[in-house]
């Protein structure tokens, strides 16, 4: 639009023109973002995506109810392996080089136009950058709206406030790296098939989790990752019985041209355009 503004009426018309222009642009972005820009791949096979043993840097068994935190450098990856289909593993992520930058659940779902985070999607920080890519995923059902368990949720569900919970686990993991309560924010819980009905009520999709499920997170910057192995608050079952999980850190293959996570959406592409210059 190139018009010379001469009067209040012209100015009002220009404002209206901007509104219509922005509305039209948003509708185009939404259609592309929720459409078939590039179809999401199927879930990873539970027997697929075998990690070359020579690339493995660390393996850690995290007992049911416990937590672990680790640094994962750019280019490395973290596999969360769930051998006995425990219902939920909550994760918080910080930029290890500046922990004021951290996982932002709102941006992650808003930017990608979906709360369904699965293979091909990425996890965004609060700075418009990509923390990690979901490069493999057998489960495809994870939750970042409801969060992990807390003292209160354990009390309501199990009538026992003394059971270990994800909120306190993430607080402890953060604390071991010198971080504190102010550094926690909404987390993501893998292996948590939370359903949202048309009225916004949360539920749980039973039968989704299988023994041997895993999810791979490729670090796109140097990360500090906290992992809490406690059942999701919406998981069925009146008995608190989280099973052990395994965390594997390995040296991932460099992203190739046409890398799924880098090219799945225009939004992810721009996220990487914001991220890569940190490492120039």
């Amino acid at each position: 639009m190139s018009m010379t503004i001469k009067s209040p009426a012209d100015r009002a018309a220009a404002v209206q023109n901007d509104i219509e222009k922005n509305r039209s642009r948003y509708q185009q972005l939404k259609a592309a973002g929720q459409g078939s820009q590039r179809p999401l791949p199927p879930a990873t096979s539970r027997t697929g995506a075998v990690i070359d043993a020579s690339c493995i840097l660390h393996r850690e068994v995290i007992p049911g109810g416990w937590y672990w935190a680790t640094r994962v450098s750019r280019g490395q990856a973290l596999r969360l392996l769930n051998p006995q289909a425990t219902a939920g593993v909550s994760v918080m992520i910080w930029n290890a080089d500046d922990t004021s930058e951290r996982y932002n659940a709102g941006d992650t779902v808003k930017v990608q136009w979906t709360a369904e985070l699965r293979k091909g999607r990425v996890l965004f920080s609060d700075m418009g950058r990509v923390l990690a890519s979901i490069t493999e995923d057998t489960c495809a059902r994870h939750d970042t709206l409801v969060g992990g368990s807390t003292v209160l949720s354990n009390l309501e569900k199990y009538r026992d406030a003394s059971l270990r919970n994800s909120r306190d686990n993430l607080m402890l993991a953060a604390g071991k790296y010198g971080l504190g309560r102010r550094d926690l924010a909404p987390c993501i819980t893998f292996f948590a098939p939370v359903a949202t009905d048309a009225e916004g009520r949360f539920g749980w999709n039973e039968g989704v989790l299988q023994n041997g499920d895993f999810v791979d997170l490729r670090a796109e910057m140097n990360l500090l990752i906290a992992v809490s192995n406690c059942p999701h608050p919406l998981a069925p079952g009146a008995t608190y019985a989280p099973s052990d999980i395994e965390a594997i850190v390995w040296q991932a293959a460099p992203a190739q041209d046409g890398d799924l996570c880098r090219s799945l959406s225009a939004e992810a592409g721009r996220g990487f355009e914001n991220t890569d210059p940190l490492f120039r």
Binding site: T150, F202, N274
Partner: protein, 213 residues
């Protein structure tokens, strides 16, 4: 889902605090236990990004995930108890005429704007600019900006997980009222976003009133 409840009527003239937040601007104020804060969407379809901190310890603050988990559903409506990161009730929504309010999509920022709308939108005013300036006045910084409530912002979560900001349903004069269950600092960004429908692409003023309970 109870999205329309006019609740108790309080005369604006009885408010102990009455301030109109200009379009695009931040605001913060103290709401003491038992007091009621009313946020009025004066012209309709205006997102009001809002954070709450415990007044005597800002490291205890509103937790979106605790709040949604406890109520078992995805939106802030009449009756929603806003919980802190320690699981304590901070405020309760006691009246609402403005639809189901979002607390999952967060606040806009210059950085996320580049990802969502293109790099050319980087140098535009955004909610997290407002938040950062306003919390800095209280000795806080970026780490203290957590997931907020977006009053009057309409973000339906579809059963298949799709989620988008769509046209707001609030009409001129719609309002929400919250009763404080503890002394809280309320921090607001009157959202300046023009790249999506949260403000009808045209940010407008909102009014904040605080009443004795």
């Amino acid at each position: 889902m109870n999205t329309s409840n006019t609740g108790a009527s309080r005369e604006a003239s009885s408010a102990i605090h009455d301030f109109t937040i200009p379009a695009l601007a931040p605001w913060s104020g103290l709401v003491k236990r038992g007091q009621v804060i009313r946020i009025v969407d004066l012209e309709g379809q205006q997102a009001v990004d809002t954070l709450f901190y415990r007044a005597d310890d800002f490291s205890e603050r509103y937790s979106a995930q605790d709040t949604l988990r406890a109520q078992g559903s995805a939106y802030v409506v009449t009756g929603t108890r806003l919980l802190s990161n320690e699981g304590f009730p901070m405020l309760t929504v006691i009246a609402n005429t403005g639809g189901a309010h979002d607390t999952s999509a967060g606040a806009c920022s210059c950085e996320s704007n580049t990802v969502r709308f293109g790099h050319h939108t980087k140098y535009m005013h955004a909610c997290r600019e407002n938040f950062l300036l306003e919390v800095s006045r209280h000795g806080m910084g970026k780490r203290d900006i957590v997931a907020n409530i977006n009053f009057f912002m309409n973000v339906p979560v579809e059963p298949d997980g799709r989620l988008a900001i769509v046209d707001g349903v609030s009409k001129p004069g719609d309002y929400v009222e919250l009763r404080a269950e503890m002394d809280v600092l309320c921090v607001i960004s009157n959202c300046p976003q023009v790249n999506n429908p949260c403000n009808g692409f045209n940010p407008t003023p909102v009014r904040v009133l605080i009443f004795q309970g």
